[in-house]
């Protein structure tokens, strides 16, 4: 007896968003990346085609971070001391997008200046052809001080500026709008808070296809269930027609996974935990792959091996 699989049809669609601009489009990127556009839940190809597959970004810093795992220092090697080299290495490792996370201080311990930050961004753009996302250091005043000149210096490149939060979004959104960039909006794991920040940004006049939302996640074993379910609810709301949740989602499983004890610590842990390197990469990979299945459009990772495995998982899921 033939079994008919029930199919859901949703009234809502996720916005299709393109990052980066090529020469012809007013930028300097060798390629652009498009994602979003979903009309059903992730990978349910029997209901609707997957218009764009989830993409993988690699996070780099403006100088070699001191608090990153030794495993990451080992795999990136000397490239970590030069953001341009690091970006090139990341491109070679299979990244679709570069995330450049700026630091509060430069490598000499002095506060990061706007000139220095702009210089770093330009070096990264010059070294690789991928679209770029720039995160400020995460302090309100400093973020605004650095992101505005970066935005102006890269006018037309269609980079993403972040991170907008409910108490500090106005300056970042205004400069992104003026210079043709996008923004990412982060809220702490709550459907309503996500929606509210999206409304605030939209109220300023930012077009819908230039907003990414970051609902925040936890690593595997560190609250991923909560993050997963918030993302799932956001995506369901979007598909049901809630216009203020119909934005592609970006999450940072690399950042989350690499701060867990399991990934960070190689000594003095039970032998049953297994090989440190394998465990750490598994932690990052599993966190990312889980989130892709709840609707993440961009996952930001740190280890090249995780990138390879997550991309493989995406291909496998698409073949099913």
């Amino acid at each position: 007896m033939p079994i008919e699989i029930p199919k859901d049809k949703w009234p809502g669609t996720i916005h299709t968003v393109t990052l980066g601009a090529t020469n012809g489009e007013g930028g300097t990127r060798s390629k652009t990346v498009t994602f979003g556009g979903e009309t059903t839940m992730p990978f349910l190809q029997f209901e609707a085609p997957v218009p764009h597959k989830p993409v993988v970004a690699i996070e780099i810093k403006d100088h070699k971070p001191e608090d990153w795992s030794l495993l990451l220092a080992e795999v990136w090697g000397a490239a970590m001391t030069d953001p341009a080299e690091w970006a090139k290495a990341a491109e070679n490792a299979g990244a679709d997008i570069i995330v450049l996370a700026l630091s509060v201080n430069d490598e000499n311990g002095n506060p990061t200046t706007p000139e220095k930050a702009v210089g770093t961004v330009k070096k990264v753009l010059g070294a690789c052809g991928l679209p770029l996302i720039v995160f400020g250091p995460g302090q309100v005043d400093l973020d605004n001080e650095l992101l505005v000149p970066i935005s102006e210096a890269t006018k037309g490149e269609r980079i993403v500026l972040g991170i907008c939060e409910d108490k500090n979004y106005r300056t970042i959104v205004a400069t992104a709008m003026a210079n043709g960039h996008l923004v990412t909006a982060r809220t702490p794991m709550d459907v309503n808070l996500s929606k509210q920040l999206n409304i605030l940004i939209t109220d300023m006049g930012m077009p819908a296809d230039r907003i990414l939302m970051d609902p925040t996640t936890g690593a595997l074993g560190y609250g991923i269930e909560y993050g997963y379910s918030v993302m799932e609810r956001l995506r369901l709301a979007a598909l049901q027609g809630d216009t203020m949740t119909q934005f592609p989602m970006i999450v940072t499983p690399g950042f989350e996974a690499w701060k867990t004890k399991e990934a960070k610590v190689g000594e003095g842990v039970p032998g049953s935990w297994g090989d440190w390197k394998e465990r750490s990469i598994n932690w990052e990979t599993l966190t990312a792959v889980s989130l892709i299945q709840t609707g993440a459009d961009i996952v930001v990772l740190r280890h090249p091996e995780s990138v390879k495995r997550v991309k493989y998982a995406i291909e496998e899921l698409l073949m099913a």
């Binding site: 409910d166 108490k167 106005r170 709550d190 459907v191 309503n192 808070l193 929606k195 509210q196 920040l197 409304i199 605030l200 109220d203 203020m244």
Partner: protein, 644 residues
């Protein structure tokens, strides 16, 4: 273009009409300006505030907007000067400003309290005055004084059982002899039918033809504000009212922190003393105003949330705080003033009204009574706004209640320049959308000292609609106005400069204040939505919305809707009742039937515990926005935001 003759007459003086000629299509407000006639426009001529209303007595005009005018107003020729243009020669009557304020449809003021119809001291009242003539004792009749008095009560008043305290007992021998065996007794006859003895409160020598004043108190103990009404029991009239912040505030702003404090060593005792002191002080000042003495207060009826009642009685409230949230007592028995430390007559009857649950107390049963919702067939939403917002939905057939913690912001506490709704409080605000300059109305009309609850609601709504605040309540400090600045507590707006205030300091609203207000309004709106969802009715279907609580005597419903505190339903469905809790104690004080009804309400209401699952939290988070994350729930606000 044709010119028209526009004649302005001013309602408040009998001065000469002022005439001016201007072309077709001129705004009346512009014409008034050119003619030198003052027409208030606190909103900056956007047709939002309705303060520029004028009456067209001759000729015709074209109205661009009639927002805020009823169809009856329009038929009488009323128009908004900033939204109406001349089409013919016209004659315009400009009303005096205070008249305008009184006739706006959005304003809701508290009705005056009426003595319950048919109040008769000798019938409705549980406190009675009895005159007794006793046979004096002799060598032959060696009966003791108390037995002799009991006999007199039985024969002359029909009271078979009478009891008294040791305090009264000490006084009877002297009273009987000084009065030459004629005495006047003040007794409490409550619950006689259930076999409780009549209680002798006071015995005075002699029988005076004139009854000396019998005083009583209706008391509401709020977490933040305590209110006392001094009532003449004989006539039922309220002779004085007094309110003050609860002396416990310094030990915690909400019930939870009070409960925590009460759990510390001697904390409970301290809180008990604090609230009794607050009441005693209020009673002294109320008595002074009415020419009474506290010693002649024979009865007090008290309402308050369950924690307040526990603290007043000195009962440890700790179990209220922890799941499953159980009180020690919901229906307290009667006590005497001296047992609790009050300064009234030592044997005065203290009657604490019954509550329902840990977070729906006697203040609500009392409010449900005084609001009349227990007796209507209309679907009614009753809200008591205080530090805890309590909400009851229902009608004569069913009642469902819940409580949510709003915090003290609407009572003016927890806000830098907040104050109670007394003289000097800013009670209403308009903000010009172009200049961002405010216009304020101050209670008493003098220089402002601070902002009260209704002023805060009004300010929040105006700042939001004028674009000073975004939907999350962030102050846009990039605006070109000296009124906005970065302060120590985040972005802030200066409502009054220091040279305009009674305190000599700027009156401001800060980011922290705004967050407190947002939380307060979100908690209340979330309570509405969860309650209506749980019983399966649509919030907007409520036929009447009754609001009690501590907003002072006035609220602007439209502004409360604009910030998302109240549901977006037609304004005429709202009634503002003032302090419904103290009003209920007043009814219970005078009328034993009303007292019985409160008991029935307490037994029949269904209580919904909001912390039982996360639906309240979800509703709360979505209400933490101006007016709400889902703007479609607020169609009139959506329309106002979309107006150019």
């Amino acid at each position: 273009m044709t010119d028209h003759k526009i004649v302005f007459k001013q309602g408040d003086n009998n001065g000469e009409p002022i005439a001016i000629n201007l072309p077709t299509g001129t705004l009346l407000s512009e014409a008034a300006k050119q003619a030198g006639v003052e027409v208030g426009q606190p909103c900056g001529g956007q047709g939002r505030c309705g303060r520029c209303v004028v009456q067209v007595t001759q000729g015709s005009i074209r109205r661009r907007s009639v927002l805020r005018l009823t169809s009856e107003d329009v038929s009488k020729g009323f128009a908004l000067a900033c939204q109406s243009v001349v089409e013919t020669d016209v004659e315009i009557l400009v009303p005096a400003q205070e008249k305008i304020e009184r006739r706006l449809t959005t304003d809701r003021s508290v009705a005056d309290v009426q003595i319950p119809a048919g109040y008769d001291f000798s019938w409705s009242q549980s406190i009675r005055v009895v005159h007794l003539n006793l046979t004096p004792p002799s060598m032959e009749d060696q009966t003791d004084d108390w037995s002799r008095l009991q006999t007199a009560f039985r024969i002359q008043a029909g009271y078979n059982r009478v009891s008294c305290s040791i305090f009264v007992l000490k006084s009877i021998g002297i009273a009987l002899r000084n009065g030459n065996w004629s005495v006047t007794a003040i007794v409490d006859v409550s619950d006689q039918e259930s076999g409780i003895p009549v209680k002798l409160i006071s015995l005075k020598p002699g029988i005076s033809g004139e009854v000396e004043p019998l005083w009583s108190l209706a008391i509401d103990i709020g977490t933040t504000t305590v209110t006392v009404w001094l009532v003449d029991l004989t006539s039922g009239e309220i002779k004085a009212r007094a309110s003050e912040y609860n002396g416990q505030i310094a030990r915690g702003e909400d019930v939870i922190s009070r409960i925590v404090y009460a759990g510390k060593e001697s904390g409970g005792e301290e809180l008990q003393i604090k609230v009794v002191e607050t009441i005693n002080k209020l009673v002294v000042s109320a008595c002074k105003r009415a020419g009474a003495t506290p010693d002649h207060v024979y009865k007090a009826v008290i309402a308050g949330n369950s924690t307040m009642i526990h603290l007043l009685l000195g009962i440890p409230p700790s179990s209220i705080r922890f799941s499953p949230f159980i009180t020690t007592i919901n229906h307290p028995p009667r006590f005497t003033a001296q047992e609790l430390g009050f300064n009234f007559h030592p044997d005065a009857v203290i009657d604490c009204l019954p509550g329902i649950a840990s977070y729906v107390g006697a203040d609500i049963t009392s409010g449900v009574l005084s609001s009349g919702m227990y007796a209507t067939d209309k679907l009614t939403l009753f809200l008591d706004v205080g530090t805890n917002g309590e909400i009851v939905l229902g009608n004569q057939d069913w009642l469902v209640g819940c409580a949510c913690s709003a915090g003290p912001a609407f009572e003016g506490a927890g806000v830098v320049d907040g104050m109670r709704a007394t003289e000097g409080a800013i009670e209403e605000v308009w903000v010009n959308s172009e200049t961002f300059e405010p216009t304020i109305r101050v209670i008493g009309g003098g220089k402002p000292k601070g902002i009260c609850g209704s002023g805060l609601i009004s300010l929040l709504a105006e700042l939001f609609l004028a674009g000073v605040l975004d939907k999350a309540g962030n102050v846009n400090t990039t605006l070109d106005s000296p009124r906005v600045r970065e302060g120590d507590r985040g972005g802030e707006y200066i409502l009054a400069w220091k040279n305009e205030t009674a305190t000599g300091k700027d009156i401001t609203i800060t980011r922290v204040d705004i967050d407190n207000l947002l939380r307060a309004k979100a908690a209340i709106y979330a309570g509405f939505s969860v309650l209506s969802e749980q019983v399966g009715v649509i919030l907007e279907d409520a036929e009447q919305i009754l609001i009690g609580g501590s907003f002072g005597k006035y609220i602007n419903v439209e502004k409360a809707i604009q910030i998302g505190l109240l549901p977006d339903v037609p304004w005429e469905r709202f009634q503002f009742l003032g302090n419904t809790s103290v009003l209920g104690t007043y009814y219970a004080l005078l009328d034993s039937e009303a007292r019985q009804k409160i008991k029935d309400i307490a037994s029949n209401m269904t209580y919904i515990e909001l912390s039982a699952d996360n639906t309240f939290y979800e509703a709360f988070m979505s209400a933490m926005f101006l007016p709400h994350t889902d703007l479609n729930r607020f169609p009139t606000v959506k329309a106002a935001l979309n107006r150019p």
